[in-house]
């Protein structure tokens, strides 16, 4: 088990599911037995403004906010948000931009957030079962299949 804290910033525009994605990630890490903290600002996020959410997990997490320039991973759901958020990434950190996934391959465009989580999952030490359980817990049943597919698509795109 990693003892070092893993820092992931999820960013996007209101309505894209960035917060939902960070919820799923936090839940997956929690299910895997880690200490987890998550922080975000969501006030007027539904009106299309920028949204960023910090997820941190490890043996013990103190501050819920990722210090600037210390994110290990930056998952971005909107092209326009990439540059704004890049300073969050530590040197050598991994950027997962929206075009990491070919949108045309998605079973449903609204599942881009979960597909990008799949891309992230390929690089994290959290087992599939935790991811899938977290996805199911976060979404209504009728969306399970589509999102599980999106998750796999994302995960398999990393070879």
């Amino acid at each position: 088990m990693a003892t070092r804290v893993v820092n992931v910033v999820v960013a996007g525009l209101g309505g894209q599911g960035a917060i939902k994605a960070s919820d799923i990630l936090a839940d997956a890490a929690f299910r895997a037995g880690f200490d987890v903290k998550k922080a975000e600002i969501h006030g007027m996020s539904q009106r299309g403004g920028s949204v960023t959410s910090d997820v941190r997990y490890g043996t013990e997490v103190l501050s819920p906010m990722i210090p600037r320039g210390e994110a290990d991973f930056l998952v971005v759901l909107a092209g326009s948000e990439v540059e704004v958020n890049r300073p969050n990434l530590r040197p050598g950190g991994v950027l997962i931009p929206p075009d990491a996934i070919n949108e045309a391959d998605l079973p449903n465009r609204r599942s881009l957030n979960v597909a990008l989580l799949g891309v992230l999952a390929a690089r994290l030490d959290l087992a599939d079962e935790h991811w899938l359980a977290a996805i199911r817990a976060a979404l209504p049943e009728r969306l399970h299949e589509v999102n599980e597919k999106a998750y796999r698509l994302g995960k398999e795109s990393v070879r």
Binding site: R47, V61, L62, V84
Partner: protein, 553 residues
């Protein structure tokens, strides 16, 4: 033991349930809104009040009755509730009353970044503050015990990062709401005429002196011994930033924000070479320490603004006041593309109106392309400010002034302004536009008295905005649908601006994000009403208020 990942708001709701809270009430305000929603979802009895003052008064009444009551609001809401709050400190309570004030350092969605800790000092009330979700849960339980033990309302300060941050929570208590005893009359305690208020103030100060002793010995505060060269005193989420920024430092985490455990803090400060107070917002703890003659140093003024984080804490500790890196600005929120406010703003702009605006989604109309708002001060202020402008501006300008307010905000405190409008009408009259989108859109679509549905979307009596305006004596009261009949709003506006009379125009069209849900709730409620009529319920006379939705039809 149930362990779950919860937001601070959800943790407070869970604690309220586990503390046997009889009633939760409040007014939606980011970042406090989710507390009551979560409490309701958990099966607690929760309701939205028209505003924070009313919420506190209802909570106070419940606590006079011996019940446990939770009242929630954001920091600026505490200003609205301040009037009864200060006197509630004198009257005290019979049951438990905890008032959550959620501060928003950095103003993610607020008009100011006031520090609610000042209210605890000013009103003379105990205040606790948690650092994460587990503490939000634990301290909320402690707050109810404190409230009952000292028979005082307890303030509970949270900040955005604690409210909306998620961390792991273990729930450990359960207590069903205790049966409330019959009312106990206690006039000298609860009726604050001067003769009774004078001794009540003395009694409050005695309680505070005793609370001071309690705070000194309280296990709620955490002293983490460390490096003797550097000690930090911190509160709330800031204490967590400190542990990460300076893991070796000695740390005193203050949870009892008021009264402060000053003797303990003195001991702590004396135990280290250098002692720094790091707190978000105002220097409340630092000032109190310095006034008590403690050897501590506060943070540089630059850190009074915005949130703190690990970086900024490192800077404070390094006494680094060099300019901080400016975070690149993201995309600001905007009115939704199909928002029913668009035609209204377009008309106001076309006719060069001077707009006294208010707090809500529609405040976004201030951005380009409309630049559609000239003032925006506080909930309900659009009426008073618009009237003031009308009173003094040269006639040609006065005639262009419009007050613009949303439905939820109108109910919150706009009604008072409407009373002023009919009482002291300006010579040119005035035009009030109520943007009725059928929900509290800004905070995430909560119900309010004007929607006719309670917090959990059950049907209740619907307050009629146009009915109130008419009853108060406004000459011209109209309701228009700005989407179904796009020209109608503009024609009406131009006509009303030209009269020396008072006018209210209700622009009614559901928020597009809420519309589908509203239809679902209405359908469910209509079906329920039918069930009552068809089933065991007594036959209803035609048009009765209990079962039909004729107002909406």
């Amino acid at each position: 033991m149930e362990r779950r990942l919860l937001s601070g708001d959800e943790a407070v709701a869970a604690a309220a349930l586990d503390a046997g809270v009889h009633l939760g009430t409040g007014y939606p305000g980011t970042p406090s809104t989710e507390i009551l929603e979560a409490f309701d979802a958990l099966g607690g009895r929760a309701q939205w009040a028209p505003n924070e003052k009313v919420a506190l008064e209802v909570g106070l009444g419940a606590a006079y009755g011996g019940a446990r009551c939770l009242v929630t609001m954001k920091h600026v809401g505490l200003n609205v509730a301040a009037d009864p709050l200060f006197t509630a400190a004198y009257t005290g309570v019979q049951g438990g009353l905890v008032v959550v004030a959620a501060d928003d350092p950095g103003m993610a969605s607020s008009q100011n970044e006031q520090d609610s800790r000042r209210y605890a000092v000013a009103a003379g009330l105990p205040m606790l503050e948690p650092a994460d979700s587990q503490e939000a849960y634990d301290l909320m339980l402690a707050a109810f015990e404190l409230s009952e033990r000292w028979q005082l309302p307890v303030l509970f300060r949270m900040t955005t990062r604690v409210c909306h941050g998620k961390s792991i929570v273990t729930r450990h208590a359960t207590r069903a709401p205790a049966a409330v005893q019959p009312f106990q009359r206690d006039i000298p305690t609860r009726v604050m005429i001067p003769a009774y208020a004078r001794p009540a103030h003395k009694k409050l100060r005695q309680k505070l002196a005793a609370l001071q002793v309690f705070a000194e010995g309280s296990a709620l505060n955490v002293w983490r011994p460390g490096d003797v060269l550097l000690g930090v005193i911190a509160n709330g989420v800031t204490a967590r930033h400190v542990r990460e920024a300076a893991p070796e430092a000695s740390l005193f985490e203050v949870k009892t924000i008021h009264p402060l455990p000053l003797a303990k803090l003195r001991e702590f400060a004396a135990s280290v070479e250098r002692c720094v107070v790091i707190e978000e917002g105002d220097p409340v703890i630092a000032d109190a320490c310095l006034a008590a003659g403690l050897r501590v140093e506060g943070k540089p003024e630059a850190f009074r603004f915005g949130e703190l984080d690990v970086d900024r804490v490192r800077r404070i500790l390094a006494r680094d006041t060099s300019p901080e890196p400016v975070a690149p600005r993201g995309k600001p929120p905007m009115l939704c593309e199909a928002c029913p406010y668009h035609p209204v703003y377009a008309s106001l702009r076309k006719h060069d109106c001077i707009v006294a605006g208010d707090i809500g989604c529609y405040t976004l109309g201030v951005l380009p392309p409309y630049l559609g708002m000239d003032t925006c001060v506080a909930m309900g202020a659009s009426l008073g400010v618009g009237l003031g402008l009308r009173h003094v501006l040269p006639e040609a300008d006065a005639r262009r002034v419009v007050s613009l307010i949303g439905d939820s905000t109108f109910v919150h405190s706009g009604i008072n302004g409407l009373v002023e409008m009919v009482y002291n009408p300006p010579a040119t009259g005035h035009v009030l536009v109520v943007l009725d989108n059928g929900t509290t859109a800004m905070t995430g679509q909560q119900e309010h008295p004007g929607t006719g549905r309670t917090l959990d979307h059950e049907q209740t009596t619907r307050l009629s905005i146009e009915g109130i305006a008419t009853a108060l004596g406004v000459k011209n009261v109209d309701v228009v649908d700005p989407i179904a009949d796009p020209g109608s709003f503009e024609r009406l506006l131009v006509d009303r601006l030209g009269r020396n009379e008072l006018s209210v125009i209700v622009s009614r069209r559901a928020c597009i994000l809420a519309a589908a849900d509203i239809r679902t709730y209405d359908k469910a409620n209509a079906a329920k009403a039918l069930l009552v009529v068809d089933g065991a319920g007594p036959a209803q006379p035609a048009g009765c208020g209990g079962t039909c939705t004729s107002e909406e039809a």
